[in-house]
């Protein structure tokens, strides 16, 4: 069987997801052995973004117009296209800037704004159709393996699509929200991390982004009843995934 041609693309992010793919996973050798990396600036000197690719993995948020243009091209020349990590799947950390006027954000970083052409931060699926999501911050190893093996087998990848609470209960963790009165984002956050923070007695801060159709206002109101200050609640719902319609209602309730 000919190895699938893989392209890895990086937009605005910390590059942690690519590091995760090629350095930190337990199955780096299997993953890279199962594919031919034809483009990826961290992985190979050769290759161009021209394609074609059987599978394109995209990390990072779209925050500049050239990125959107290239992304559309990559979509056209790729069999499967999968965003990896929170920045690409839900806007991630870079999308915090969406809380502020674009010009103000630019001025906070750069003195000469004439050469800055940034756009509102958006996840990959705001611009192109995606075939699956590999979530995480950084991207989860199990997510990547499931997405790659599922697509190669020709079945829809079965990644976690439920609340972090499911993983907490499966691990038998104490519920830090109910029992310890911590403002845990687990009930609205997509699982896949194995409930890492609650397993260590900490509240989930939604780094994997929102699950499908969470009830953000109900959790925000509950946080208020638990004594959380309004600005803290707005912050928790805007740290990750603020451009998504899932988390915006949680922010709007308590934003000054």
């Amino acid at each position: 069987m000919k190895k699938p041609r893989l392209g890895i693309f990086k937009y605005s992010c910390c590059a942690g997801c690519q590091f995760q793919l090629i350095f930190f996973q337990r199955k780096v050798a299997e993953l890279l052995g199962a594919v031919e990396v034809v483009y990826g600036r961290m992985e190979t000197d050769a290759g161009t973004p021209e394609g074609p690719f059987d599978l394109a993995l995209i990390e990072g948020t779209i925050t500049e117009s050239w990125q959107a243009d290239e992304l559309k091209h990559v979509r056209n020349v790729s069999g499967f296209l999968v965003p990896i990590g929170s920045c690409a799947t839900n806007g991630g950390i870079p999308a915090i800037k969406n809380l502020v006027n674009e010009r103000e954000v630019e001025a906070r970083v750069y003195r000469d704004l004439s050469t800055v052409h940034s756009v509102r931060a958006s996840p990959v699926d705001h611009y192109v159709r995606v075939d699956a999501y590999a979530r995480g911050c950084p991207v989860g190893e199990a997510e990547v393996l499931e997405v790659v093996s599922g697509l190669l087998l020709g079945r829809r990848p079965d990644t976690a699509a439920y609340a972090v609470c499911v993983e907490c209960k499966m691990r038998g963790n104490t519920c830090v929200l109910v029992s310890d009165n911590l403002p845990c984002m687990g009930p609205v956050t997509n699982a896949g991390c194995g409930a890492l923070c609650p397993s260590n007695g900490r509240a989930c801060y939604a780094c994997w982004g929102p699950m499908e159709k969470p009830n953000a206002p109900a959790l925000a109101r509950q946080f208020r009843l638990m004594g959380q200050p309004p600005d803290e609640i707005a912050r928790r719902f805007s740290e990750f995934g603020y451009p998504t319609h899932e988390f915006q209602p949680g922010v709007e309730l308590y934003r000054e």
Partner: protein, 365 residues
Amino acid sequence: MPAAFPARRLAREDLHGLVVRWAGAREVVAPVREGNEVHWRPVTDAAQVDWDYASTMLPPSKVLYKPLVDVARFTRAGDAVATGAVEPDARPSLLLAVHPCDLHGILVLDRTVKGRRFVDPSYAAWRAQTLIVGLNCRHVGELCFCASFGTGPFYSRWMDQGPSDGCDLLLTELEGDCLVEVMSRPGEELLAGTRMTEASETDYAERDRLEESARSRFKKKLEIGGLPELLLRNLEHPVWERVGEGRCLSCTNCTMVCPTCYCYDLQDRSSLDLRETVRARRWDSCQDRNFAAVHFGNFRATRKARLRQFVCHKLSYWVGQHGCFGCVGCGRCIRLCPTGIDLAEIAGEIRRTEKAEDLKGKAEG
């Protein structure tokens, strides 16, 4: 009045000695306090056990019904695919200090995943390898309502179950000592060689007094007469929309901590060379948006519909499906709900408002 089964009196320190002995022969799993919560954890010593617990987070039935179990393995060689079942990994175990509500939770789960029509091999194997020591409950919590179902606070024979189906030994804590009721032959063997005295009339009287005292402390009550029909008549009651959309998070905690919930999903995991796939059964929940997904999505797409499914399944549909309620009144789904959704309160509101609407109808008629 004498207890239903012959009982003996056992000194506390002798019970503690027994726990150490049992732990030498099998894994003893008991309620253990960790911070603000109590969990079922392996113990080697009676001092690790929280004998005065009110409730645990997960029920003991889910110590037996494991969250993630490999069930099949597919191996590909060329064009051929070999299929093999994965044998359950059950070990000899003992569940210690299980309250009556949870003993009933196990009996209800038996009917579904160890019933006549379907047997979950992993659950059946763990169930067969696990002895159960019950503990009559003296710690009635704010959200407990087992007395409404007759599943507690003290254990008694239930429906068509034989006495030994629920537990092997049943403990009642008296002043200083324990009353031990032997429910099965393995239970008798657990006590072999232990110094005990026959229970006296005074002991039985003390047991009955303790039961009455526990019974008098319930704050929460659910009227179960005609409940299945009441809910069926009120599937469009405004409470579903108000609570479902206003407060339900779809986090699935209610079902995860329910002693009788058994729903599962199957997930396949394939190696990257695509040669081997392992299929596992994983806890699933009707509260999850993707639970009943078919072509075009979940037919219970709204939180209202999913909350109604949970409450009506436990308190109504279950009766037709399995011949008993799907609720034992342990109160976990209420306590572990981040927004405190209360199925007994929902049922109570429907009963109150239906009556009011009937009266209103009569007055107007």
